[in-house]
Symmetry: C2
Subunit: 436 residues, 2 copies
């Protein structure tokens, strides 16, 4: 088999056979197919797609089995993970994993880092002093069994084909392809040995998918693909025009997550945590109906068991558990600056992408992959979309290590916030649900 | 400027600016744009094309100036070259260059090697003992001035951007793209410092372009592109369903070329040599009309000046000029085998691609770039398309170094020749002409 012929077949709109897709995935993992050939294949897929029934399942299977696939079958009960396509202020994994684990569903979670305007779960967790996101897979499996949840980063052993292809897509403008996105995400997630996956597909100007139609297509592809591989999957399509919650950054998002686990915190974060939690309990057969699932989740928040589970996780992964009671122990910024409204009116919009970029300017994110993150940097929103404001009212508090970073962050934030004369239309958080 | 953004722009159907195309061509030549990014760009161009007015001239200019561009302006008179898109038995450059030079038009010719079923001018020339196709560019310029023609191979100094991009296209199934073909050919040809170029665009089952429409589009693109860069260009579209002439190989094609220069040889080879010669004399202002040009060319054949010019070229480039009078001095095959007709009837078709592949099996060509060529190998057609044959009549004589090669060549040849009951329709050699 020659990579040339496979590229040509896909280029000309042909359907690749399972062994041909395996040849490419294995060749990506072991370096036997040259980078330039993989890049040409990826661009051909960008234009021609991959057939959802005949090609994608085989391609995903090959990507998945290019590395280690965990077997958690010895652990009793269902193992369910959640994946978000990424947003601004999206700290949901932090309260969600312990909450769902407290309700009896095990959560083996492999997460990523922030890039561009979107944050990453790993960076947030690492802002808890001592928290280890790099663990041997054996320890990961052990903690999923003993604690009920474990949150780590992608390892070398998991889906090496995807690691190679993702790096190439990132360099060759072939990221925005639904079959490539779907197979990339699922090759990492299904390697965790989960029974089911819940997807949070973000839609809007702060999301990767700008339109509901695109987001629906991606969700449908992933739900069907999981089905083809015998795993449960459901997807929520949720709004990402405005940031989620009031905190955007790392340490500030940990503090907000703890608030949620205490039954407090912003309404939208709490509601999305519950909505995704309901999906996970249903997928994990820990509840028969959505009503029952919501009740269980509310109880776990009310009785403190979700917060205790988070403390267990933090402790098991080496983090300073005292941060949960005393957020002052989390990294604190050297400088803070309040941004105030220049006029009176209503906060009619707060562009999530611009707010995310403001956080990057402040030091909380990465413009490039190799950038270092300042865990203490970020921002706290003092007003949310729809709020009435008077000139001089605080809109946000910026956290950074230097005045120049505060200046850059403030300039971006100014571009994000728009004050109008009347209140904006209310917008929904949950836009759609896609199931098998 | 980032290659990523340029790939994305092309991927999305945008028009790249001249400086963006220059960035990619320069980056290809000096290695600053990664192979995988160039490959993705090439595949995006395969799908999106390059705008003939806004993109292609700038891209070609950048490819051309990625290396050395000869200046022949000190040499009086017009400098005109010919390029063929490649066929089977296409030895036309060998008689054409001396014939045109004998008529007063200088021919600086940079040619290529054979690959797959098509032969290459360099391999044919090298079958003349001692003939040097690798010369310093200064010597090339000197011989164009003194002798009137010089035939060499592509050097490291000419169009390095194309060398890189061509190697990538060859590995990534992005060869078959009209803007990429046009810019690749012209970046090498225009670097010769020519005033005008005559194209022989082959059409048919033995050619790269299978349909007349494709061939017309390529010819039109190249003629217009030359015009945009201030060079003259005209193209003949000629048939390549059957091999050209009776000899297919290297030494055998040299011998046939000498026959043409003696006013003998197969009718189709002589006619195509004249047709392309007419174009070159007109482009080089050595004749005002086609009739005048044909007359000049016929005279140069009749009075022996064309053959003498070929002898001068061979001598100047180190070749054994005695081969012209005594073809027995050319490499001779160890073994010969006659292929005979199995039935009586008419030779209704002789598939050029299969005949070309038979020559490769015999040792005359390359299946892979790194293969070595046997100059003595090849075949002589004893019957041409349309000829009446009786069972047992010789169809061809195969030349090779071993019985196993003869067996392999004979098997291919059997697949190429088809004998039918009635005579086939006659087909034209010249299919169309494309001018500015």
């Amino acid at each position: 088999m020659r990579a040339y012929d496979l590229i040509k077949k896909k280029r000309d709109g042909g359907v690749l056979a399972p062994e041909e897709l395996r040849f490419l995935a294995v060749g990506a993992a072991n370096g036997e197919v040259a980078d330039e050939q993989l890049a040409a294949f990826l661009m051909a897929v960008f234009f021609r797609g991959l057939d959802g029934e005949r090609e994608l399942p085989a391609f995903l299977e090959a990507m998945l089995h290019s590395g280690r696939v965990l077997d958690l079958s010895h652990i009793p009960g269902s193992k369910v993970d959640k994946h978000s396509t990424g947003g601004v202020g999206d700290k949901i994994s932090l309260p969600l994993a312990p909450l769902v684990a407290a309700c009896g569903v095990r959560v083996p979670m492999v997460s990523g880092r922030g890039l561009g305007h979107t944050g990453g779960t790993l960076d947030k967790l690492e802002s808890i002093p001592g928290f280890q996101v790099v663990l041997p897979l054996a320890r990961f499996v052990e903690l999923v069994e003993k604690v009920g949840a474990c949150l780590i980063g992608q390892t070398e052993e998991i889906a090496p084909a995807d690691r190679k292809l993702y790096a190439l897509r990132d360099a060759t403008a072939t990221v925005e392809s639904i079959p490539l996105i779907a197979s990339s995400i699922l090759s990492k997630k299904l390697a965790e040995g989960i029974d089911a996956l819940v997807l949070d597909v973000k839609v809007g100007r702060g999301a990767f998918m700008k339109s509901l139609a695109q987001a629906r297509a991606l969700a449908r592809t992933m739900v069907d693909l999981c089905g083809a591989l015998g795993r449960g999957c459901s997807a929520l399509l949720t709004a990402m025009d405005e940031p989620l919650g009031e905190a955007v950054g790392n340490a500030v998002e940990v503090a907000e997550s703890v608030d949620i686990l205490r039954g407090k915190g912003p309404e939208d974060v709490r509601e999305l945590t519950l909505l995704l939690g309901i999906e996970m309990l249903l997928a994990g057969q820990a509840a028969k109906t959505g009503v029952e699932a919501r009740e269980k989740l509310r109880n776990a928040l009310a009785d403190g068991s979700a917060l205790r589970k988070f403390a267990e996780i933090v402790e098991a992964q080496g983090g300073d558990v005292r941060c949960l009671d005393d957020p002052g122990r989390l990294p604190q910024p050297r400088l803070r600056r309040e941004i105030r409204a220049r006029r009176s009116g209503f906060l009619v919009s707060l562009d999530a992408e611009q707010v995310g970029l403001a956080a990057v300017e402040l030091g909380a994110g990465r413009a490039r992959k190799e950038d270092r993150v300042d865990f203490a940097a970020g921002l706290l929103l003092r007003r949310r979309k729809g709020d009435e404001v008077r000139a001089g009212d605080p809109l946000a508090e910026l956290h950074a290590a230097s005045e120049s970073r505060l200046d850059a962050g403030a300039a971006r934030f100014a571009a994000a916030a728009r004050i109008g004369d009347g209140p904006p239309a209310r917008s929904a958080l949950l836009l759609d649900r896609v199931t098998a």
